[in-house]
Amino acid sequence: MIRVVLPAHLRILARAEAEVQLEVTGPVTQRSVLDALEARYPMLEGTIRGHDGGPRRAFIRFFACEQDLSHEPPDDPLPSPVAAGTEPYLIVGAMAGG
């Protein structure tokens, strides 16, 4: 299971816990994780990235394993601890935009 941590404002919107666990089939990439997240919580469509898998919203960041992955290609594999479920994939509201 892939662990995803949501920022507070999206947690409330999705009525989800701070950390959600997702089943991802195929390669574990930022795109496949966000696809699975939006499939489980359709109300998050358009709030993290553009509709239909569009680009990351400007004031949303993606972190994992103490790395900023925000600018990494969406189809690159995520770090293996994320794929193994030992480390979470963090969706973060940047310190701006609110």
Binding site: P7, H9, L13, M43, G46, T47
Partner: protein
């Protein structure tokens, strides 16, 4: 006994304020959607328990919320606002072409007769419609694609479609206002549009007959007399007696004719309300006195309404969508301020009292009169 429900959208959440017809004691619910900007909330005339809210944030963009139980519970609906085709460009502040980009929904206008149909006025200026309870949205793109569109420029708050009035006597007729393009009318349910700005005079536009480019802040109409429109422009309060074909100034004895909201008494089509603001540079009331001005003559002759409103050291603003009226026998008038107060008058403006004093900055106020 009748009730009223006041819907207050604020910079950091939504509030629902309810009272019986006496309008003395208020129950306050909220914040709903805490931390998000609520540009506008409005109830369906066809089903008063169906409410709509425009929720947005700099982080996560636009969400539309719907309630089917009068605001007790809410659920997000569709939020995909895609302009039809390749949207092209409008003018940027410096006069250069700028691509049309969706930013947020400023105004939600439920259809008069169908609770599943609602219109959304958006920034960058465009009009969308949902006919399936908000699940999907389609642009009424001929407004944005009007020949004058490439010349439209944003106002200081962005290039927003902030007002949509639906004519109850003429199905298909609607009026829209865009800052800073002007007012537009459709007579065919939004299929075609034309500017209706003849008679507006705006500083900064050298052509006195300019078809567009006017910073219209707000339009208002009485449903029993929809051919008469009132307008608060950037400067000037205006009136049209021919459904927007021509306008004349009715600022009269106002201390300043700059302002944002304008509204009409529920039972007196010639009684109108504005809140004069010092100037475009000083967005607060003149002399630090918060005064609503009322005209009982359809304009020109105005009286200040001050009882219960702060008459010193008051430097709040009242935004364009932040005034509304109820339709009880004695018309109630309501407005919210950027200082977080929502004021109510249960006697058509003669006296005022705050319902709440310390909300986040109020962006919009709507009122429902309930059985």
């Amino acid at each position: 006994m009748s009730k009223v429900r006041v819907l207050a959208g604020t910079r950091k959440g939504a509030f629902v304020l309810t009272s019986d017809g006496a309008r003395d004691d208020w129950e306050i619910s909220g914040p709903h959607f805490a931390g998000w900007e609520i540009y506008h909330m409005k109830g369906s005339p066809a089903d008063p328990d169906r409410l709509w809210a425009s929720q947005s944030s700099g982080w996560s963009g636009q969400v539309i919320q719907r309630s089917d139980d009068g605001g007790q519970t809410w659920a997000p609906v569709g939020n995909k606002f895609a302009y039809n085709g390749t949207p092209g460009t409008h003018q940027w502040y410096d006069g250069t072409p700028h691509p049309w980009e969706f930013a947020r929904v400023w105004h939600l206008e439920p259809a008069l007769d169908d609770p599943d149909t609602v219109y959304a006025g958006v920034e960058d200026a465009g009009l969308f419609r949902s006919a399936d309870g908000g699940q999907t949205w389609a642009e009424l793109n001929s407004l944005r694609e009007h020949d004058s569109g490439p010349s439209w420029q944003p106002g200081a708050g962005g290039m927003c479609l902030h007002t949509l009035l639906l004519d109850p006597s003429a199905p298909g007729r609607m009026f829209a206002a865009i800052s800073a393009a002007g007012a537009f009318r459709s007579d065919d349910a939004g299929t075609t549009w034309r500017p209706i700005n003849r008679g507006l005079q705006s500083e900064g536009i050298p052509d006195p007959d300019a078809e567009v480019g006017h910073c219209v802040h707000r339009l208002a109409m009485h449903p029993d007399r929809p051919g008469v429109l009132f307008m608060q422009k950037h400067w000037d309060v205006m009136r049209s007696d021919d459904a927007g074909e021509s306008w004349r100034e009715i600022s009269g004895n106002l201390p300043t004719d700059f302002g944002f909201p304008i509204d009409v008494h529920a039972h007196e089509p010639d009684t109108i309300y504005v809140v004069p603001i010092t100037s475009d540079a000083e967005h607060f009331p003149p002399e630090g006195k918060l005064r609503v001005y009322r005209s009982r003559t359809g304009g020109d002759d105005w009286e200040p309404l001050t009882r219960g409103l702060p008459q010193q050291h008051c430097y709040v603003n009242v935004l364009r969508d932040a005034m509304a009226v109820d339709s009880l026998d004695e018309c109630g008038v309501y407005f919210g301020t950027t200082g977080g107060q929502v004021y109510a008058s249960a006697d058509a403006g003669d006296t005022w009292a705050p319902i709440v004093r310390d909300l986040p900055a109020v962006l919009s106020v709507e009122v429902q009169t309930l059985p």
